[in-house]
C-alpha cells in the first residue's frame, strides 16, 4: 500500500507548467496557502529512498512524509509527473537512479 508521501512544493513557475499540461488539479493547498503535489511511496520504496539519500528522513511526528530529499531529486519527480501526466512515478525514478 502506498502511504508515504513526498511533497513537491509548487511555486508560480511550476504551477504554470502544471496548467499547460492540464494538471493543475493535482496541486492542493496544504498549509496556509502553500500548494503541494504529493507522490506516494510504498513501504519498500520508502526504505529504498531513505537508504539512497541519507539526508532524507521520515517525518514520523506529524505528516508521515519523506522530507529533506535533495532538490534535484524533487525536480526529477516533478518532471516525471509532467512527462507521464501521472503521480505514479516513484518506481520509474528509482529505476532511473539504479541505471
Amino acid at each position: 500500500m502506498k502511504k508515504y508521501p513526498i511533497n513537491i512544493w509548487i511555486n508560480e513557475e511550476r504551477y504554470k507548467s502544471l496548467i499547460e499540461k492540464g494538471l493543475e488539479h493535482l496541486a492542493k493547498d496544504v498549509l496556509a496557502g502553500m500548494k503541494v503535489i504529493q507522490v506516494f511511496c510504498t513501504e519498500e520504496e520508502k526504505e529504498k529512498i531513505l537508504k539512497l539519500f541519507p539526508t532524507a528522513k521520515l517525518d514520523t511526528s506529524t505528516t508521515n512524509s519523506i522530507e529533506l530529499l535533495p532538490p534535484e531529486v524533487k525536480n526529477k519527480i516533478f518532471k516525471l509527473i509532467l512527462k507521464r501526466k501521472s503521480l505514479d512515478v516513484v518506481g520509474e525514478l528509482l529505476r532511473e537512479i539504479d541505471r
Binding site: 512544493w9 509548487i10 498549509l31 502553500m34 539526508t55 517525518d59 506529524t62 505528516t63 512524509s65 532538490p71
Partner: protein, 418 residues
C-alpha cells in the same frame, strides 16, 4: 534597585573566571588534560554560573543523586549529570596531581581541582536520565561515547572564549543577561528555547507565552520580555546552521514582528541530551540561572522520535515541588493554521480540528530546501531571505548543516593561545 543574582537552589550566581595572567603562576607545571568539546562547553557554562549551584564537574555522589532522585547530593533539584569523562591514563595522572590544567584544542581553558576520580556505569546514567538505553536515542549515544572514568571537582576558567561573528552579538552570561533585563525594566522574562528558524507557529507560541506571563502587569509600560534562547551545540547533517537560527530570530525583531523592548535573542552552549521531561527540568534550571522568571514548554519539548509522550515534558512539572524550582513553566499546546478561521490559531481555541493544518518543522525545512518561498502566513518573508543569505554567507550554499559545513565552518568560539 539591587541586582538579584540568586540562582538555582537559592545559591548566588558566581563567576569562576580569572585572567590567564592571574593564573600564570598557578598553572605552571600543572598536568594538562585535553577535554572534549562537550566538556569544554560545560566547563565554560559552569564557570559563568549557567549551572549554578555547580562550581565544577559532578562528583560520584552527585551523579548518583541525580540518577536516583533527580537532585544533587544536597537535595537541590537537578536532572542531568554534568560530567568530565577522561580516559584511564588521564584519570590516574589527575588523581596523582590533585590539580590539572584542562585544555581544549590544545589551548588552556580552565584549572580543575581534582576532588574525586571514579568509574561510573555510563549506561546506568543513560537509563536513569533518558529512560532508555536504545542506541537509536541520540542522548544514549552521548553517554555511550563517554570515557569510562570521570573527574569531579571545581573548575576556574582562565581563558575566556572569543566568539566569532555573528555569535559575539548574542553572547550573554547569566550576570550580563540579568543586567540587561534590569536595564530594560523587565520584571518577568519568558524563555523560548529553540534550535529552529522561526515559522509563524513559533512566533505565535512566543506571543501567546508573553500574554500568559504579563498577566496583571501594566500594559502601558511593558514590563515583560521574551528571551529567545537558542541552543548552540553539536549539529547533525540536515539541522539548520547555527548562524541562520540566531539571525532569523533577530530578524523577526528587526523587521518589526516583535518590538525591541519586549524581545531579545541570545544563545546557550549546550549539547542536547533529548531527555524529554528531564531535559525540560534542566532547561528550566538553566533559564532560572539566566534570570528568567518563566519558561515556555511546547509540544514534545526536548524529545526525540517517539521516546516520550508529546506532553511528558509538561506533566513532569506536576511532580515538582514549586519551592525547588523558582521559575514557572508556561505550558502551551500547538498553534496551527485553520483555513476556516483563516489564521494561525491556537489549538486550545480552534474547534475546526478536522480542517486544521499542522505546522511541521520538517515540512517547512523541505520548502526551504527546495528554495520555494513559503507564504507569509507560514514564514515571514524577511526570515526566508535571511535564511537564504546565511546559506550563502555561512553555509557553503545550504541553510542546513552539510558535511562540508560540519568540517569547515568557522568555529563558534576560539581560545587564545598563550
Amino acid at each position: 534597585m539591587k541586582m538579584d543574582f540568586t540562582g538555582q537552589g537559592g545559591k548566588q550566581i558566581v563567576e569562576r573566571v580569572i585572567s590567564y595572567n592571574e593564573a600564570k603562576g598557578e598553572i605552571e607545571g600543572l598536568e594538562k588534560i585535553e577535554i572534549s568539546g562537550r566538556c569544554a562547553r560545560e566547563c565554560i557554562n559552569i564557570s559563568y554560573g549557567f549551572f549554578t549551584p555547580l562550581e565544577g564537574f559532578m562528583k560520584q555522589e552527585d551523579i548518583t543523586a541525580v540518577c536516583d532522585k533527580m537532585t544533587l547530593k544536597d537535595g537541590t533539584l537537578w536532572s542531568i549529570p554534568i560530567v568530565l569523562d577522561v580516559d584511564e591514563k588521564d584519570a590516574e595522572r589527575a588523581e596523582k596531581a590533585g590539580k590539572v590544567l584542562l585544555t581544549y584544542r590544545n589551548k588552556p581553558l580552565a584549572i580543575c581541582e581534582v576532588e574525586d576520580v571514579f568509574k561510573y556505569e555510563r549506561m546506568k546514567m543513560a537509563e536513569a536520565i533518558l529512560g532508555t538505553t536504545s542506541k537509536k536515542h541520540p542522548g544514549v549515544r552521548i553517554f555511550a561515547n563517554m570515557e569510562n572514568t570521570f573527574i569531579g571537582g571545581k573548575v576556574t576558567l582562565i581563558n575566556q572564549p572569543k566568539f566569532n561573528r555573528p555569535f559575539d552579538r548574542f553572547w550573554y552570561t547569566p550576570k550580563r543577561l540579568r543586567e540587561e533585563f534590569r536595564k530594560r525594566g523587565w520584571k518577568r522574562v519568558v524563555a523560548h528555547q529553540t534550535r529552529n528558524v522561526p515559522h509563524t507557529g513559533h512566533e505565535w507560541l512566543m506571543k501567546g507565552a508573553w500574554f500568559s506571563v504579563n498577566g496583571e502587569l501594566s500594559v502601558e509600560k511593558l514590563q515583560s520580555g521574551i528571551l529567545v534562547s537558542c541552543i548552540i551545540g553539536p549539529k547533525r547533517v540536515g539541522d539548520y546552521i547555527d548562524e541562520a537560527i540566531l539571525l532569523s530570530h533577530k530578524t523577526l525583531q528587526e523587521a518589526g514582528y516583535f518590538r525591541d523592548d519586549i524581545h531579545m535573542v541570545s544563545f546557550v552552549l549546550w549539547d542536547m541530551r533529548y531527555a524529554g521531561p528531564k531535559e525540560a527540568i534542566f532547561h528550566a534550571i538553566l533559564r532560572k540561572n539566566m534570570g528568567c522568571t518563566h519558561h515556555m514548554f511546547g509540544r514534545d519539548h526536548a524529545g526525540v522520535g517517539s521516546f516520550y509522550d508529546p506532553y511528558d515534558a509538561h506533566r513532569i512539572f506536576d511532580r515538582i515541588d514549586n519551592k525547588s524550582l523558582e521559575i514557572k513553566p508556561v505550558r502551551v499546546l500547538e498553534w496551527w493554521y485553520c483555513p476556516v478561521c483563516n489564521e494561525v490559531t491556537y489549538s486550545g481555541f480552534c474547534a475546526h480540528i478536522n480542517k486544521r493544518q499542522n505546522f511541521s518543522g520538517t515540512m517547512i525545512r523541505s520548502m526551504i530546501q527546495d528554495r520555494v518561498k513559503p507564504t507569509s502566513l507560514i514564514m515571514r518573508p524577511e526570515v526566508f531571505e535571511i535564511v537564504q543569505h546565511c546559506a550563502t554567507r555561512y553555509g557553503f550554499g545550504s541553510p542546513f548543516s552539510t558535511e562540508k559545513y560540519l568540517r569547515e565552518r568557522q568555529p563558534v568560539f576560539e581560545l587564545e593561545s598563550f
